[in-house]
Structure formats: C-alpha cells, structure tokens
Symmetry: C2
Subunit: 413 residues, 2 copies
Amino acid sequence: MMKKKTLLAVAMMLFAAASFAQEALWSGNGAIVSPEINSDNSVTFRLRAPKAARVQVTGDFLPTENRKFDNGMSYDFPGVADLTEKNGVWEFTSAPLPSELYSYSFIVDGLTTRDPSNIFLSRDVVSITNIFIIPGDPGDLYSVRDVPHGTVARRWYSSPTLGYDRRITIYTPPGYEASGKSYPVLYLLHGAGGDEEAWITLGRTAQIMDNLIAQGKAKPMLVVMPNGNATQKSAPGEDEQGLKTPANPFANRGAARPEPPYKPKSSYELAFPDIVKFVETNYRVEKKKSARAIAGLSMGGAHSLNISKEFPDLFDYVGLFSAATITFDMGDRQDNPIYQNIPQKLKTQFAKSPKLYWIAIGKTDFLYKANVDYRKLLDDNGYKYEYFENEGGHIWRNWRIYLAKFAPMLFNK
Amino acid sequence: MMKKKTLLAVAMMLFAAASFAQEALWSGNGAIVSPEINSDNSVTFRLRAPKAARVQVTGDFLPTENRKFDNGMSYDFPGVADLTEKNGVWEFTSAPLPSELYSYSFIVDGLTTRDPSNIFLSRDVVSITNIFIIPGDPGDLYSVRDVPHGTVARRWYSSPTLGYDRRITIYTPPGYEASGKSYPVLYLLHGAGGDEEAWITLGRTAQIMDNLIAQGKAKPMLVVMPNGNATQKSAPGEDEQGLKTPANPFANRGAARPEPPYKPKSSYELAFPDIVKFVETNYRVEKKKSARAIAGLSMGGAHSLNISKEFPDLFDYVGLFSAATITFDMGDRQDNPIYQNIPQKLKTQFAKSPKLYWIAIGKTDFLYKANVDYRKLLDDNGYKYEYFENEGGHIWRNWRIYLAKFAPMLFNK
C-alpha cells in the first residue's frame, strides 16, 4: 500500500500531467493574483515581468478617448495606464469602478499580451482580451447566478436560399426539455465582423436570459443567434476552412487576405426565413407573429430593420440596437431587392401594427445622426416606435444593456 | 446619397467599431501571419516585438524532454526554441512536422504570451496555449471537415446524490434531432484538473465523432462529457463562483487557494447513475447495457474502472485511457465504498462478460507500471480485455488517438 505522502505526489502528478504546459509554472506567475477586485471595487492588476522596461494596462475600465476621423465619425478608444514595478512584479490599482463587465490587456514593452493569471478571455472579431466583472447592477445580470440555467447549443442548419449549411447558436430556457410547452423566439443578430459566438460571449446572453427569467422579468423564450455574414458558414475555426485567423480589417495583409470562400446564392436578409423554418421544425416553439422577435446591433440592427420590413408578417417585436440605418443610403446596393422600395415596404410593415418597434442608441455613437434621420422618417410617416437613449458609443457595454431592456418587453402585449 | 468612398469608410467603421480593441491594430501586428504552415509541413512562427531582447517558442511540436522526479515518475516537458529578429519581427521555422494538433506559446523576455496573430486557443486546466493543426493523418480527423455536423450542448443536470445541479457537455450526432431514432451513448470522462470542456476543446471530440461517423467508421452515438470533480459544479467561470481563475496546483498561492465551494454528499463514482438517468430521460437513447459505453483518461480512467465495476449491469463497453489504476492502492480512501471489496466487484463485473474492456497507454506514461500491474491482476483472474500500447506519455495527443480507436469498436458486438 502506498504511503500518504506518495499518494499526494501521485495526485499532484495526475493533476499536472493532465496539462500540457502549466503556463503559470513555466513563467513563475503562480503566486500572482490578477485581477484582484478590492472591497471598494477598485481593481489591482499584477504581472510578473522582471525583464520588462515598461508595462501598461489598457481596457474599457479606464477613461476612454473619443477620437474623430476625417469622415466625421468618432469612436471611443480605451485608455492606457502604467504599472509600477517592485521586485519584478508590476502593479496598478484602478479607481473604484461602477458595476460592469470590463475587458483589458497588458502591454509589455509595446507587445499586447493577456494576463497570465486570468484564464477568462473574450474574442471580439480578431481581438482577444481578458475580462472581469464588478458585481452589482448591471454586473450581476451578466454573471452566472445560482438560478436554473438554460441550455446553449451550437449546431448547424440548412440554408437552401444561401446554398449551404451554416452554424448557429441556440439558447433554450431552463426547463425547455422537460416542460412540453411551446415557447416564443427572439432572433438576436450580431454586428459586422461578429459571428454566431458574439452574443453568447461578448453579449452574455445566456447569463442575462437566465437571470431575467429567474427574476420573473422576462418570459421564458428561445434566443436564436445565427451567423450574419452570408459569405461565412461559421465563426473562424468552426468550418472546413480550418484554423485560419481572419485578416484584421485595418491591417494591410495584402495577399494574405483571402477571398470569401463561400459564394452565397442570395442575401442574408432574403435567406432569413430558412432560419425561422429551421427553428420552427426543430424546436417546440409558437409559430406565430406575436411569438417572434428580431433584434440586432449595428449591422445586425440593419438586418433586423430590413428583414422585419421585407417579411412584414413574421415579427411582432423589432429591436434596433445602435443600428446601421445608413444602409438606406447605400446606392451601390440597389441590386439587392432588400434595398428596393423601402418606403413602401415600411408602410406595409407599420400598417400591420407591430407590437413593439424599439430603437436604442448611445449619445456618442457614430451612428447617432443616422438614427436621428431614421426616427425622423418614422415620425414623418406617423409610424409608432419606442426610443431609448443613453450615454456612450458603439460598444458591447451598451448592447448588453439594450438586450436587458428589450427582453422584458417581449411577448407580453 | 453617400459616395462609394464614404460607404467603404462606413463599412470599415462598422467592422472596427464592433470590436472593443483591435489588438493587432494597437500592437502593430496586423501584417504578421503566424503560424504559417509551409508546403513541407514545417511551420513558421512570427512575432513583432522590436523591444524584446529574446523571443522563444515552446510547444509540443518541438522535441520533448523527459524529466524524472524524485518519486520515480517522469513527464514529457515541451521543448523550447529561439526565434531570430529582423526589423523588429522575430521568426522561427520548425522542422517538417508529422500530422497532428499542436500547442505552443511564445516566451518574450521570460514572459509566456500567446501569439497575437493566432486567435485559436485551448485551455488545459489553467494553461492557455495557441493551437494549430498539420493536415494529414490524424490531423484531418481533428479538423472540421465538410461533413454533417453533430450538435454540442452545454447544459445542467440534477445530481441528487451529490446534492446539487451540475454542468454537462453533450454531443448529439448529425441527424439526431430529426431522425426519430434512438442512439447508444458513450460517457467520456476527463482527467484530474480537467472539466466538462476538456474533451470538446483538447480532445476535439465533436470533430473526431463527426468525421468517424461520416466515414462510416463509428456508429452515430451520443457522447456525454460530465464534470468529474465532485467538489465542482462546472468549469471555471460557468457557475456562481464567478470569474475566479483556479489556483495553479504547483504554485504556493497560500491563502489565495480557496476551499472547494461545494461539499458533495457522496462520491462522483457513486453519483454517476444520476447522469445516466438524466441522459436517458432527456434524450432519445437506447436504455440497455449493450448501448452504453464508459471511457476516460487518467483520473477519468480510474472513474471508468470503478464506476463500471460498481454498477456491473450498466456498461458493456469500458475504455481505460492512461488510467490511474493506482487508485487500488489508495489506503486512505477506504471510507469510500468504491474502494472496498474491489476484487469481488471485478469478479462480478467480468462474470457478466462485458463486450469490450479496452486498456490503452503510452510507453513513457508515468502510469505505465501501474497499468502493467493492473493487467497482471486481470490476467491472473482470466478476465478478458483488449490492450493497445503506443509511444509517448500522459498527453492529449494520445487521448485523441485512443478515442479515435475506441469509438469505432463501440456498439457493434
């Protein structure tokens, strides 16, 4: 029989050997705790980097800098702060922070890197950052709580209209599998550059819905998160293109930027009924206009606007989050039927009195003016909508807020 | 109407603004392609780090170093190679590599960091590394191919025996939802330190099963991947403990190492029927011994050994991958009924003639000797099993191979 000491060693080896490379072990970062959320909700960041000359932290927890571009648009850039070094460990403590989900990265001698003491990461297009949550309101809404949890499934659906199968993320509410009941459905669309993972990871959709449903604030519903890029089948790495990191849209990768591998036979908007059909034949859902909602952010807001007017009998609830209503002006896209006869189609849609047409945008969003113009168009025609405006720009912080405000208004009219 | 040039700018802004921080933009890494798989299957790694004094790459694509420990056990440590610098860009090209899924990290002046040009990451306990795949055999089996895809669901099940609800990952095969048929089930268990994400991310289970099923080599089946740590409800970050990075088992975090937050009322092994019951009441599966398999790696191999003997009527197929058969010697755990009367329970199990009892291990695995001893015990009693031995140690490379060999043998006897 083995001795207890040996048993412990065996247990430790089992634990360690299960792991290819105990990163913190190699780098000597084992004893570092980062980020540490202090009792006053300030946050201390730490990094062991004895050879570094300068270590900075950048993230949306720091005051942002609003930069204007030549074309008149503006965007909030995250701030940067310097860490100070003592015995090889660099440290920075933030001001007390309002409750929120925040993102950050370290910059070590100019090289952006993750925090090796924090395994929680979030991918936004080709950017991967660490995350942390300051508890309270709204942070608790974005956190996993001790409440019943829904199921998140990644699966594939067939889109005959586009011409291929595509990946999709589907949230079913707690109790769905066993209840025997039919549920309403929110179709929730991402922005340009995003994919079918965006609302689940950056949007914290599963946590928001679990919590709102547990609090009785939202009805149990399915949330369907498709991939909104018609030339893609899936998020990077999830289809037969393999583990290819997409080109950064700002970087000149030249020949490294590939042509889209898939050539859709139609547009995403016109193909959307394929998704509705898939959901309504694969899930126990209510198949009627009053049990369908569509909402999206930025490009997904434009999708929601266009799909809901193109198919005016499908959706009784429409949400435009920081929507790219500027698509109205895209004269070069008039070959897509989606952009033809828009005023007439809106007239038809609003004549059918959708139960909720909800527009939300932040005051410094570069699409603010476009949304003012769009609301004027609706006002001029007497089309009924509801409007929510808050601080901030074109950022996930606002889109989580909009989802948390929109979901409770659904399916109760 | 906007001009085309403006439209392009708007499109670019939509794309960029959707992202909080275009990391490659900030770090100037946009034009870097890394890793680049060359035509001879060598791989070039690149990193822009003009201020760095030394840049290295470490990973399992480099020759490993087998280190022996005082207690007689050994483990394969990944190799390290130096990159060379030119105009601020560091570069290293490997030897031509055999087909495989590989992991790597950069080390910049001693700091382990991810490759900012590669968004594909894999978490192994608290270690996060980049990954890439060299095509061929077996790499193609681990890749997403243009074949029908199964569904991967993350959900929660109730374990009255342990005393709480727990998270679980479930693969359903292509066509499951619409077929109306009932399927057999493989219960697939992770090792110490792993969780319900390990087999899906590190094990590439969905890709292996999709591909084996498409090739007609494996029967369509469910694969159920529970969390095997009884004091956990879920992988880190997926329960109400929040975004807390677990302590590194090797690091002395002292007070930072928390007590397990949950106190199970029983052991994982004794509570396993809760999982079987959940699966058989929530999924369209065949509810009989000949349609149930259980397999696991390391600690999960010990779990498979013990659960299958404890409940000798449940599983007709058993797989021990690099199994921790040393649990037999754990004299300090005799308060757990699982470790009592083992010889008698094995006798009962084998008297019922399981259809397949499969043992696999690598020649340099630190559990090799323990497996020799266990096979001797089986041989001495005339218990029938099959055995597979290959090169290498206690690593995911082997566990993927074992899954790919085990799954085709299931449910056809």
